[in-house]
């Protein structure tokens, strides 16, 4: 049976269609692996294979789903104690669409609480371990989804990305992660963190799997999500072998200071490979990118403080026992129900939105956001894609960045610019690098960002790089 695990999701779907693999057996194999998971990647695992709809396009290849997607009757806590016991009465549109297409729910994956974090250490369910080195974090916030895919505990997974929460854990676990254009995937049924930034996307073993999964996540706009958009054309399956005619821009602001030497070394080597494949590689400017992190840590907490106001102990989840009155019920429920990082962001967001500070922080941050989007638009007049490392570091040790919140936020400085601009960005593994001070080499991620709705072309370019890089994304890490 071990041969089945080595199949990529696309290969498994094709094998099912040819009648070589039984989808029920495939589901059971992954179900057993997920149920005995020792990475703490899962928060819930299906008890049995669902009855498969006849001839679905994805064949019945099971899907791991980040905890924050609502799934009817199945625990959906967004990694938080405050949603203890919550079983939603409905299912998120994207989970429903994927199940209809033949990717049934295998399990729910661990995550940073309400998707706030870059290490998956902020979960009410405890941290997820990186399958490459169990003393290290898998990245976050979609750390459970990334670890599950890397360790062969799921054929593929979906997560969400607000400031890098798909791309960064994908990079730290050596897999592919794609954040689509804002609005491309319905947010209906996603427990919201920062609504103007949150976007669902695939985490997969290779680029072809990402394209196949994404092709069933986008399409017609969802009438239940007013910000969702019709995707202009179907996602094309990647096939490109050269990069002739492709122009890659390398922003000096995001490819120098603050990045580990091993990560930069891998990045430079991949640029050289891109040149050999025929791409033109030139430097470009994103002058406001150095301010993206500051703007992000105003806007995301502001939206978080507003979105998380709904968790008050009244309608669902946890309520503090024996409150004095209504106000103390709210205040104690929110204190006990939210973890340390979520409280910090609720406080930060409430502060920047409070009377007297709104324009200085929130107003200015929204103007910086306009400038960042304009920087990308200018770059895309000369370049097809802008490229940079995904994460400034390889997977770091559990607990090593918990003392200083800003040190943790710095993990996001290469991923938040594309988030603020609402443009698609993906991370592919581009080799291994030792952490500073030495040690076992760990995966590094290479990031491409492109214009809105350029996902098919971006996946095509990533495919050519993936083939040339030869990174074995299908190997099961444990």
């Amino acid at each position: 049976m071990s041969g089945l695990i080595d199949l990529s999701a696309s290969q498994a779907a094709a094998a099912i269609k040819r009648g070589e693999v039984d989808p029920g057996a495939l589901f059971d194999l992954y179900r057993q692996r997920a149920a005995t998971d020792s990475l703490n990647a899962y928060t819930w695992v299906a008890e049995q294979a669902p009855k498969a709809p006849p001839q679905p396009s994805l064949g019945g290849v099971p899907l791991a789903v980040k905890d924050l997607f609502c799934t009817e009757g199945v625990p959906s806590q967004s990694g938080s104690r405050i949603l203890e016991g919550y079983r939603p009465p409905y299912t998120a549109t994207v989970v429903e669409r994927l199940a209809q297409a033949g990717a049934p729910l295998l399990g729910k994956t661990n995550q940073d609480e309400f998707a706030m974090g870059s290490s998956n250490e902020n979960s009410a369910f405890g941290p997820v371990l990186n399958p490459w080195d169990r003393a290290r974090v898998p990245g976050g916030s979609s750390g459970g989804s990334a670890a599950a895919v890397a360790a062969g505990l799921a054929p593929w997974a979906i997560g969400t990305d607000t400031g890098g929460s798909i791309r960064q854990p994908a990079a730290l676990c050596g897999i592919v992660g794609l954040k689509p254009t804002y609005g491309a995937v319905s947010r209906y049924g996603m427990i919201a963190f920062a609504s103007s930034l949150d976007q669902a996307g695939p985490l997969t073993r290779d680029v072809s799997d990402a394209a196949l999964l994404l092709s069933h996540m986008v399409g017609e706009r969802d009438p239940l999500d007013a910000t969702s958009l019709d995707f202009p054309e179907p996602i094309a399956m990647p096939s490109r072998r050269t990069l002739a005619g492709i122009r890659l821009g390398v922003p000096s602001e995001l490819t120098g200071e603050g990045i580990e030497p091993g990560v930069l070394g891998a990045f430079q080597a991949t640029l050289e490979l891109a040149r050999q494949l025929g791409a033109t590689v030139e430097s470009c400017a994103l002058p406001h990118a150095p301010h993206a992190l500051a703007a992000y840590y105003v806007l995301a907490p502001a939206e978080c403080s507003s979105n998380l106001a709904r968790f008050d102990g009244v309608r669902y989840g946890y309520r503090a026992a024996d409150p004095d009155d209504l106000l103390s019920m709210y205040e104690r429920t929110r204190h006990d129900g939210f973890g340390v990082e979520v409280r910090r962001r609720v406080m930060l967001g409430t502060y920047v939105l409070s009377s007297g500070y709104y324009e200085a922080y929130y107003g200015r941050a929204q103007r910086v956001r306009t400038k960042i989007a304009a920087d990308f638009a200018a770059a895309f007049e000369r370049f097809d894609f802008v490229v940079m490392p995904t994460s400034p570091c390889v997977a770091f040790e559990l607990g090593s960045k918990l003392a200083d919140p800003y040190a943790m936020y710095l993990n996001d400085f290469l991923s938040v610019p594309a988030s603020l601009a609402g443009i698609p960005a993906l991370s592919i593994p581009n080799g291994l690098a030792s952490p500073p001070g030495g040690g076992t080499p760990l995966p590094v991620g290479f990031q491409l960002a492109g214009p809105a709705f350029s996902e098919s072309q971006m996946l095509d370019v990533a495919f050519a790089l993936e083939q040339a890089l030869g990174f074995d994304g299908r190997a099961v890490r444990s």
């Binding site: 016991g85 919550y86 079983r87 009465p89 254009t181 804002y182 609005g183 103007s196 706009r221 910000t227 958009l229 301010h291 992190l293 500051a294 703007a295 840590y297 105003v298 106001a309 009244v314 309608r315 669902y316 989840g317 946890y318 309520r319 409150p323 004095d324 009155d325 209504l326 106000l327 103390s328 019920m329 709210y330 205040e331 104690r332 929110r334 939210f338 409280r343 910090r344 609720v346 406080m347 930060l348 409430t350 502060y351 200085a360 922080y361 107003g363 200015r364 941050a365 929204q366 103007r367 910086v368 956001r369 306009t370 400038k371 989007a373 200083d404 919140p405 800003y406 936020y409 609402g422």
Partner: protein, 94 residues
């Protein structure tokens, strides 16, 4: 810039109880993060419009037609306390 009184005021706005130790820690942590955030104060942003939506989109309106929603029973199913077919909460002035 951020002192104990500010933290207590903001915590009240956010309906968030904090212990004395947590208030102290929050003073330091919020101050530290805001120090980094304040770099955006140096930028010249005169005449730059704030972003309202990242992808150009016209009003996304739908027909105002009634449609099914959750039943009362479904809506109450996850509530910590229920009374008289509604959400039960403590009195505002116990």
């Amino acid at each position: 810039m951020i002192d104990r009184d500010t933290v207590l005021h903001v915590a009240r706005l956010a309906r968030l109880e904090l212990t004395d130790g947590e208030v102290e820690r929050m003073v330091g942590e919020l101050g530290g993060v805001l120090e980094h955030i304040e770099t955006i104060a140096q930028l010249d942003l005169d005449g730059v419009p704030p972003t309202t939506h990242v992808v150009e989109v016209a009003n996304a309106l739908r027909e105002d037609e009634p449609r099914a929603s959750l039943s009362r029973q479904q809506a109450l199913a996850g509530a910590p306390a229920v009374a008289d077919e509604g959400f039960a909460v403590p009195s505002p002035q116990a």
